[in-house]
């Protein structure tokens, strides 16, 4: 079981917003692990990373593979790819939307992740619990 936490962020109007943050590792094309902190987004179909993080992972833009996906702020050009993701000790291949713009937050979405982990948001306690499903 892994217990992630909410991060409190302060707006310029001094309002507090709390957001759920995970610690995950993505495997680069040179086989090194990059540790980063995406927001956990149960409303996101798929994990998404911004342009420059994809470049750090070694991804190259193939214009024939660019697609548009929808978000609350409009369409985002992405390339769908796959890479290994590690959460705690669990390492697995996952689908990934590589956004070709920088102005998107890194998101940990449901595809693959929520199939492997039971994810429970306990906002009152400011924690998000990831429990691995037992294999059948």
């Amino acid at each position: 079981m892994i217990v992630f936490k909410y991060k409190t962020e302060i707006t310029s109007k001094k309002q507090k917003i709390i957001r759920p943050v995970a610690e995950v590792y993505l495997k680069s094309l040179t086989d090194s692990w990059i540790k980063f902190y995406p927001y956990i987004d149960s409303g996101a179909d798929v994990t998404m990373i911004p342009l420059s993080l994809g470049k750090l992972l070694g991804f190259k833009i193939d214009e024939s593979k660019i697609q548009q996906i929808g978000g609350i702020r409009g369409n985002v050009p992405v390339i769908f790819t796959q890479t290994y993701l590690k959460i705690g000790k669990e390492e697995f291949l996952t689908s990934l939307a590589w956004a070709l713009i920088e102005d998107v937050p890194p998101l940990l979405g449901r595809t693959d992740v929520f199939d492997i982990f039971k994810v429970t948001f306990e906002q009152y306690k400011k924690v998000i619990i990831f429990e691995k499903y037992l294999e059948k």
Partner: protein, 74 residues
């Protein structure tokens, strides 16, 4: 709840840190402090590795204030 060593001290630092001055930027954390920041994850990561080595660098993107993601659909 027991965490063992599943989460790094950088993570705990990030959760508690006031990152408001870095809105819209990438930050790299190593040994419980912010060691690099900027607009490009690759540049920030490489600067951080130069300073701290590659064993203990974590990346985070500090969101703009109004970030609100309700859903992302395929």
């Amino acid at each position: 709840m027991r965490q063992g060593k599943l989460l790094s001290t950088n993570y705990e630092f990030f959760i508690k840190a006031d990152t408001s001055r870095y809105k819209g930027e990438w930050i790299a954390i190593a040994r419980n402090k912010i060691v690099a920041h900027g607009q490009d994850a690759e540049d920030v990561y490489k600067k951080a590795v130069k300073k701290a080595g590659d064993k203990d660098v974590s990346l985070a993107k500090v969101p703009h204030e109004q970030m609100l993601i309700l859903k992302l659909f395929l």
